[in-house]
Amino acid sequence: MGTVGVIFRRELVSYFTMPLAYVFIVIFLVLAGSLTFYMGGFFERGQADLQVFFNYHAFLYLFLIPALSMRLWAEERKTGTIELFLTLPITTVQAVLGKYLAAWVFTGIALALTFPFWLTVNYLGHPDNGVILASYLGSFLMAGAFLAIGAAISAACKNQVIAFVLSATVCFLFTAAGSGIVLGPLQSWVPGAVVTGIANLSFLQHFAAIQRGVLDLRDIIYFASVITLFLFANTLIVELKKAD
């Protein structure tokens, strides 16, 4: 794990040497705040909880996480630094894990910086802090899943814009898998069991289950397996492109 740690640290520090980190964090916080207060009607609800705040996370991640993940591999390939990177004495798995973990921890930092919401709601009332803790964990897991998808797609693309658009689309499919926009075109010709299976793959559904304040093993396995699947795909793709 030592090598993964080295790549992880190098990547994480590099975020903060670029404006990317600051832009990402500021935009994330501003959007999370304005969506919660204006669109979510945080005060109008008169409820001491952060439900509206977490409700918008999936949609924020939908376009912010691909923006973060698009450069992970595509940039290295574009500038050619990937050749140098992969000639270092590291395995592809270590490289994938190091880059991914750094990006995941970075989104974790952005998420943790929303703590003023938690302070506010605790100042205003007596929220169920167990539910808030579960929601934060769920949100972090969901961010990890988005990121893994984005990283795998970034590895397949040389162009960052294409990586962004494709990642956002795939993330959208996973997010909205339970809703009519994805299921609607399928319902008429796909058997019911398959439709239910697809609906079960929805990020929103698993996130909503955690958001109730219950850490169900199935939801955790779901997010863990999405992350594992896409990191596996990521490794395969990097290996494949290395041979090009």
Binding site: V131, T196, Y222, L229
Partner: protein, 253 residues
């Protein structure tokens, strides 16, 4: 046999995806109910009251959950709720020492099961213009053929799901309702004067709630003996009330 690198990658990806789907469908079956409840009030764990009632059941109770899979397909929110209701019911079964039997049926449109569902008093909800109806209700019955029904499990009552289920089981496990003798100087059942004059009046919410589970007998003021059929005597006499009309007040007014 030599395969191209791209071919191997594609095979790897497909195998990964298959593994992903199988892990998730397996975990759905194997790990149902394995969870940590982080809510303050343990909303998603069985309460002590429920466990006590489940421990005291003598006669077997059959619960039949009618859930139209079509409902979950039309509105996935209900699929999540149905899964949770099913998990909770399984938890009841596990804790009932085999006294509760759970059946889950899918009342497909225009089938015998659908006829049973409507006969039991379940409420169907139309999903399309063809008159197809979906059901999501619970019918409980005990060994003496008493029946209690939740016509439709509303998703907005999700927070009270355990309460509703336990109430249904309690009414089946103990069909003989306890009698509460209520001694009070308050007009909990609504204003007496208004009742006599035929004006509309409402009982207090607590009375409605009590009557759902108990027989409530209001005792006359100045009663000298608690009637024999009363199981529980309930005295409602808050401090600092105005004196009763028939007692002379101390300041002479």
């Amino acid at each position: 046999m030599i395969r191209s690198a791209a071919g191997m990658t594609a095979i790897g990806l497909v195998l990964g995806a298959v593994l992903f789907v199988s892990v998730n469908s397996l975990s759905d079956r194997v790990f149902g109910g394995a969870h940590i409840d982080l809510t303050d009030q343990q909303l998603y764990s069985l309460s002590d009251g429920t466990k006590a009632i489940l421990g005291k059941i003598d006669e077997p109770i059959t619960l039949k959950l009618y859930y139209s899979k079509r409902l979950g397909e039309v509105s996935p929110g209900y699929a999540v709720f149905a899964e949770r209701a099913e998990d909770l019911l399984q938890e009841y079964v596990a804790r009932s020492n085999g006294k509760i039997v759970l059946e889950i049926v899918d009342p497909v449109a225009f089938s015998d099961v659908e006829d049973q569902a409507t006969a039991a008093g379940l409420q169907g909800v139309p999903v399309d213009e063809n008159g197809e109806q979906v059901y999501f209700g619970l019918v409980g019955s005990n060994s003496t053929d008493d029946q209690d029904v939740i016509p439709f499990l509303q998703s907005d009552r999700e927070k009270f799901l355990e309460y509703d289920l336990t109430k249904l089981i309690q009414s089946l496990a103990f069909p003989k309702r306890k009698v509460i003798g209520l001694a009070t100087a308050l007009s909990l059942d609504g204003d007496m004067m208004a009742q006599m004059q035929g004006r509309p009046t409402h009982a207090q919410v607590i009375m409605d709630q009590l009557r759902q589970t108990f027989d409530v007998h209001t005792l006359t003021p100045n009663f000298d003996k608690v009637p024999d059929d009363v199981d529980v005597l309930m005295l409602v006499q808050p401090e600092k009330l105005q004196p009763r009309p028939n007692t002379p007040s101390t300041n002479g007014c």
